[in-house]
């Protein structure tokens, strides 16, 4: 589905839960790490053992403030509250969260297309553990038993709540993409949706454009950009169909079923829990002073929008749509500094951008180790034709894996750039051996250009750069000799 029926508008507000990239949990010294053996990163505090008490992680507060600064929010004195409800994966059977006094209030996020989405708040809270239902059907209702892993319990989260300013599934995706880029750029989060570092709930309603807001449904379990877009489109269509048939949308929480491609009701607001919020008596109010706030603000580098402008400036000419996308993705993966550094070392911007967006971004764990000067040297070799594109990519793979001098790696791989005179000799020999092909090419039949290049490459044991061979062939034809 690509659009809504005429005369309808979808209104979306998003709640994004972001796991902060701290070394330790929000209220204890346990490691904040994904993927450890179950119940190994736990202690009396994050297990909520009787007698244990929370102690606020200063780094988590700093990262929350960075998010606030980046979103133009007002950093305010805040208070932690207890949100009370029973659930086995919540060790204390209450969640420490912020309620009516969040650390970040207000703010805005500008999408790459210029649309501004309001931010209502971005508050700190602790994550819960994770329940796995095993045996039986494996579903919540039909499992034999439930296993709980408390490694995630107490991991710091910032929940960023947008205003209902989003008007399409595509805009919702653009919002999350831009927010993710900001979270990565500020060092607040690793941004890994697949590991649950970012989790999105969507409040969706429909209305006649300009009319009053409709009744909203909250959609949970949106674990990927794809789910987010599909769920909003499905939900908008469902609500419009309901309204068009004369019915009314019921306010409720719905679960996105990725396999079936639909939202299904979880619980209605009438049955909703009364969370009995009250101020957490084991913590003191949080009042970051001006000096601390200023330090945090000063610690933030340029934000994604500014960094994209810088890359576009390096490209010079107006970017192609593919380049615009490369600029977005390179900034989102925090690799734009590499492109900039490579360009400073003489690499051509478009090539540096393309290689970074594709080959380098595909190896995120090695990317940070890549020496920009070596990267630039390689790209210059490629641009000058001394290395073929395929050869350059192989050298880059080596460079990412082990580092080193690109020319040295190329030699080791047998990619010695051929001497121009030597190459010319081989090409002339191939032309002599394939007179019919050459005649057709000379006569303007471009489709034999490839086979000719291939023959030269074969004769050189693939050492010859196809681009250089092509240039020679083109020049020779142009000379008419």
């Amino acid at each position: 589905m690509t659009g809504l029926p005429d005369g309808w508008e979808v209104v979306v507000g998003l709640e994004v839960h972001c796991e902060l990239a701290t070394a330790t949990k929000l209220f204890c010294g346990c490691a904040n790490a994904f993927g450890a053996e179950p119940n190994t990163n736990v202690c009396p505090v994050c297990l909520g053992l009787p007698g244990s008490l929370p102690v606020l992680n200063r780094r988590a507060v700093e990262l929350a403030m960075r998010i606030g600064v980046a979103l133009g929010a007002r950093i305010a004195p805040s208070v932690f509250h207890r949100k009370n409800y029973f659930y086995p994966d919540m060790p204390k059977d209450f969640q420490i969260s912020q309620y009516d006094a969040p650390i970040n209030r207000g703010g805005r996020l500008e999408l790459p297309d210029g649309t501004v989405v309001g931010i209502e708040r971005a508050h700190l809270e602790e994550d819960t553990g994770k329940t796995t239902h095993v045996g039986g059907t494996g579903r919540i209702g039909g499992a034999d038993r439930a296993l709980v892993d408390y490694n995630r319990a107490g991991v710091p989260l910032v929940e960023i709540v947008s205003a209902p300013d989003i008007r399409s599934a595509a805009q919702a995706r653009a919002y999350v993409a831009e927010l993710r880029a900001i979270l990565v750029a500020t060092g607040a989060s690793d941004g890994r949706m697949e590991e649950g570092s970012l989790r999105v709930d969507a409040n969706v309603s429909v209305r006649r454009p300009g009319g009053p807001l409709g009744t909203r449904c909250e959609i949970k379990n949106l674990n990927s950009m794809r789910s987010l877009g599909r769920a909003i489109e499905f939900e908008a269509a469902r609500q419009i169909a309901q309204c068009a048939a004369g019915g009314q949308v019921v306010q409720e929480t719905r679960h996105w079923d990725e396999d079936r491609g639909e939202t299904v009701p979880m619980r209605s607001k009438e049955e909703a829990e009364d969370y009995r919020y009250f101020p957490e008596p084991d913590l003191v109010p949080l009042e970051p002073d001006q000096r601390w706030q200023a330090e945090v603000a000063a610690s933030i580098g340029p934000l994604p929008a500014e960094r994209r402008v810088r890359l576009l400036h390096l490209l010079g000419a107006a970017p192609t749509p593919a380049q615009a996308e490369q600029v977005r993705s390179v900034v989102a993966s925090d690799l734009d500094a590499l492109v900039v550094a490579a360009c400073e070392h003489g690499a051509p911007a478009s090539l540096a951008l393309a290689r970074t967006a594709n080959e380098v971004a595909a190896e995120p764990s090695s990317a940070a180790r890549l020496d920009p000067a070596a990267f630039a040297t390689l790209l210059v070799l490629e641009a000058s034709g001394e290395l073929a594109t395929s050869q350059s990519k192989q050298v880059l793979a080596e460079l990412l894996a082990t580092g080193g001098d690109p020319a040295e790696i190329a030699r080791r791989l047998g990619f010695e750039p051929m001497d121009r005179g030597e190459l010319a000799g081989v090409i002339e020999q191939v032309i002599a051996e394939h007179p019919e092909d050459w005649a057709r090419f000379a006569g303007g039949e471009d489709k034999v250009r490839g086979p000719l290049i291939g023959a030269v490459r074969k004769a050189t044991g693939n050492k010859a750069d196809p681009a250089a061979v092509g240039r020679y062939l083109d020049e020779r034809r142009a000379r008419g000799s």
């Binding site: 009396p44 053992l49 009787p50 029973f86 008596p281 003191v284």
Partner: protein, 478 residues
């Protein structure tokens, strides 16, 4: 008469008496006498004797085991002890053994004290008689037909019976001071935040404070000195320096301004009021300026307390859900298991307070109950603040009555709650308060007089308490 904690520590530190002997004497006294009292729920004889031997070895090696060297201490069973069951006198915790020690336990042991056992209490510290215990009641050593008060009744009784010279309890609305008064011992509720709550199983977090019981004011000061001070594991623990304690005990009250709080004398039983007035006169005789002061806001303290404390308790006790530790009553799903476990695991008073607190925090009632009670709490603190503008310390009764009979109030929760009426105000305000034995009623039951001081005013508190102790009628000492 058994030696005081300070006498005992002095003897152990100079190798005049071995810690082993001191600890063995305590364990023997418990074995001989606790059958009738039931102050202890667990006696840690082997562990305590082994620890005492370490202390003796340290003394023999020429190192100082600390100011409480070899002093046997008892701990209320809501203080976490590593590897030793910590039950809160509740079926729901069963034989749960914490994997860590409370900060106060670490500090007592660092000071050389030896933990000899865990004491009985009202379940989760909710009660004023130590009758709400899954282990059965504790009896008052001064009269076995009477309650020792509560909720720290086991600790108060253990000191009153001479089993140990020191014990720790917790005070949320009077749970140290009220049993101290009933049993005729000294009991201290420190300034909120002076003693770390890390390892104290929470009842009402914004009110809970750990404090000592002792036979003498000087012993209580020494015990408080050992456990007080900032702890980074408790965010509400104060970083201010610990007030001077031991030296304050003998300082006297010459020139001190002491206010006798009308609301804490007028409404109490006649013999108790009489002892409180005699105490005031004794302070005047010792050189203090004594005047009556009215703090009308205190009248609303009890009502506010019985909304705030249950509200916090309803949340603090949610974690006892059968999932991770303690009792689990099996049921078809997690939610039903949770209900079955809590139904069987909690006693009636705990259930009552969870329900009261849940109600007070519910949507639509929060403003009328919890928020309003918080405003009353602020008013109570302001009332004290005004009084402390004029007075260095305040004085009144600790309890409205002397120890009541076992089972007398178990069927009437409201009558039980009224036992806390004189102690709750200092808890709401977070200020330090102490109960010092001062004479007896006509039946010979001990009467406690309460002294209160501004936050971190423990030096003044102990100076007045020391003067009261010296002025007290001699028959109070067993």
């Amino acid at each position: 008469m058994s030696p005081t904690a300070l006498e005992l520590a002095a003897a152990v530190r100079t190798a005049e008496r071995s810690a082993r002997d001191a600890v063995a004497a305590s364990i023997e006294a418990i074995a001989a006498g606790d059958g009738a009292i039931h102050a202890f729920v667990e006696v840690l004889a082997d562990r305590a004797l082994a620890r005492a031997e370490q202390i003796d070895a340290a003394v023999a090696a020429g190192s100082d085991p600390g100011p409480l060297a070899g002093v046997p201490v008892a701990l209320k069973d809501n203080l976490c002890t590593r590897g030793v069951p910590t039950t809160c006198a509740s079926r729901i915790l069963g034989t749960w053994c914490p994997p860590y020690d409370a900060t106060v336990v670490e500090r007592l042991e660092r000071a050389g004290a030896v933990v000899v056992g865990k004491t009985n209490m009202d379940e989760f510290a909710m009660g004023s008689s130590t009758e709400n215990s899954c282990f059965g009641p504790t009896r008052n050593p001064r009269d076995h037909a009477r309650v020792p008060g509560g909720s720290s009744g086991g600790s108060a009784a253990a000191v009153a019976a001479g089993f140990v010279p020191l014990a720790l309890g917790s005070d949320t609305g009077g749970s140290i001071r009220q049993p101290a008064a009933f049993c005729g011992v000294v009991g201290v509720k420190p300034t909120y935040g002076l003693v770390s709550r890390y390892g104290l199983v929470a009842f009402a977090s914004s009110l809970d404070q750990i404090g000592p019981f002792a036979a003498t004011v000087a012993d209580a000061a020494a015990a408080l000195a050992a456990i007080a001070g900032h702890d980074e594991r408790d965010s509400t623990s104060l970083s201010d320096p610990v007030p001077e304690l031991a030296a304050a005990v003998g300082r006297g009250v010459l020139g001190r301004r002491i206010g006798v709080v009308k609301e804490l004398v007028d409404g109490v039983d006649r013999p108790v009021a009489a002892r409180a007035r005699e105490a005031a006169e004794a302070m005047a005789a010792a050189g203090a300026t004594v005047e009556e002061v009215s703090i009308p806001q205190l009248r609303y303290g009890l009502a506010a307390y019985y909304l705030l404390a249950p509200a916090e308790a309803s949340s603090n006790l949610a974690r006892f859900d059968g999932v991770r530790y303690g009792l689990r009553v099996d049921a078809p799903d997690a939610s039903a298991m949770n209900v079955a476990t809590r139904t069987e695991g909690f006693g009636a008073e705990v259930k009552r307070r969870i329900m009261l607190g849940t109600y007070a925090l519910s949507a639509g009632y929060y403003d009328a109950y919890y928020a309003r009670a918080q405003r009353v709490r602020t008013l109570v603190a302001q009332g004290f603040g005004r009084a402390f503008a004029t007075f260095d310390a305040l004085l009144g009764a600790t309890t409205p009555t002397t120890a009541f009979a076992l089972a007398e109030r178990t069927e009437n929760p409201l009558a039980m709650y009224l036992s806390d009426t004189c102690t709750v105000p200092a808890s709401l305000a977070g200020i330090p308060a102490i109960s010092v034995p001062f004479g007896a009623d006509p039946a010979g039951l001990p009467v406690g007089v309460q002294v209160m001081a501004p936050a971190l005013g423990e030096s003044t508190l102990f100076a007045v308490a020391g003067a009261l102790e010296r002025a007290a009628p001699p028959e109070r000492r067993p």
